[in-house]
């Protein structure tokens, strides 16, 4: 089954990246968010990203054998709407709304009402269990998780999460779409934080403990990861990139899910979030920007 038309719910950083990636690989896209204002901002941001990619000739997402399209052509494939009814003929939905269960629950109830029966729903979440998300719909076998990485159009791999009821057919449809998007996926079973965030959040949290205990400095912690292990970025630089508020929220979700004290958030992390030191997006975190 070739996926032609895809709904993207939520025009935040990741949602915009997913829409861009899909449109660049010649899919029709419906990008949904709450207000005209958010959608207008998303359009500007998309335009900016497309031009940025072109000016610096970054290798973006594309279908094999097709030439790269210009910003205008790519944007023409995206319909911006705040009306869920625009999703009545989509083959696939990628949901990227805020990581709050009450919000997701409402969104899935609306999706269930408008999306055709054949439509597969992919939750792009980094923390909420896919099995729980599926329970908010009447099509649990057609629901799975796809954890896209930032920046979406430039990252070749995603984490695909199989919920308790997710069917093999759904996994295959998702693999097909990912391949059309120039990506591959690693399939894992549903568990809080999946593989990526369970390991990453714990690593970052532990690195913050090292800083709090004055065992090392942020520069030195990151340097060890980069130069001893060959990682591209150290854990604290990564935390600044993701946003310390998001890190705290994710580790709290893991703590609640497992009730295991190994996921307790480091007090220094909480203090920094209280102080508004979110990392790159606020201008300061473990480093200044």
């Amino acid at each position: 089954m070739k996926i032609e038309k895809v709904g993207v719910i939520g025009a935040g950083v990741i949602g915009i990246g997913v829409a861009q990636n899909l449109a660049q690989t010649r899919h029709q896209v419906v990008l949904i968010d709450l207000s005209e204002e958010i959608l207008a901002r998303a359009r500007r941001e998309l335009h900016h990203q497309l031009r940025f990619q072109r000016l610096f000739k970054k290798e973006g997402a594309k279908n094999e054998g097709t030439p790269e399209d210009g910003a205008r052509e790519v944007l023409e494939r995206i319909r911006f709407s705040n009306d869920y009814r625009a999703l009545e003929d989509v083959d696939f939905v990628v949901e990227n709304v805020t990581e709050k269960w009450e919000i997701k629950q409402r969104v899935y109830a609306q999706l269930e009402e408008v999306c055709p029966e054949r439509c597969v729903m992919a939750a792009n979440t980094s923390a909420i269990p896919i099995t729980r998300i599926a329970s908010a719909t009447r099509r649990a076998p057609k629901v799975l998780g796809i954890h896209f990485m930032n920046p979406v159009p430039l990252k070749p791999m995603v984490e695909v999460i199989r919920g308790h009821h997710t069917s093999e057919e759904t996994i295959e449809i998702a693999r097909g779409l990912l391949s059309q998007m120039g990506k591959t996926g690693v399939v894992v079973n549903d568990s809080p934080g999946f593989v990526s965030n369970r390991v990453l959040m714990l690593t970052i949290n532990e690195a913050i403990f090292l800083l709090q205990e004055q065992v090392s400095t942020a520069e030195d912690v990151d340097s060890i990861f980069k130069h001893c292990f060959g990682h591209k970025m150290g854990p604290l630089e990564t935390a600044d990139l993701i946003g310390l508020d998001t890190i705290l929220y994710s580790i709290e979700v893991l703590y609640e899910a497992f009730n295991d004290s190994k996921y307790r958030p480091c007090p220094l992390l909480k203090k920094m979030v209280d102080a508004g030191l979110y990392g790159r997006k606020s201008g300061a975190g473990f480093y200044s920007y």
């Binding site: 900016h48 031009r51 940025f52 072109r54 000016l55 610096f56 000739k57 210009g70 910003a71 205008r72």
Partner: protein, 86 residues
Amino acid sequence: MDAAQTKEKIREFFSRFVRARELRDDEDIFATGYVNSMLAMQLVAFVESEFGITVEDEDLDLENFKSLDNIVGFIERKKTVTHAGA
């Protein structure tokens, strides 16, 4: 606006970000280390709003934005095309 005035406007734009020294007309701005990719995109937006031209997909070539001379040359070419078309 003639080419000299255009160049002054561009120079003014850069002076807000590159305070250490003045750029030479033919200097590769990306090689100076002062101009990163974000500033380059701000430059593109500035050129569009200040000179009323549209930077099309095919114009998005670093060569057009590499030096003060190249930027001025690009703007002059675009203005000619716009006027010829109007």
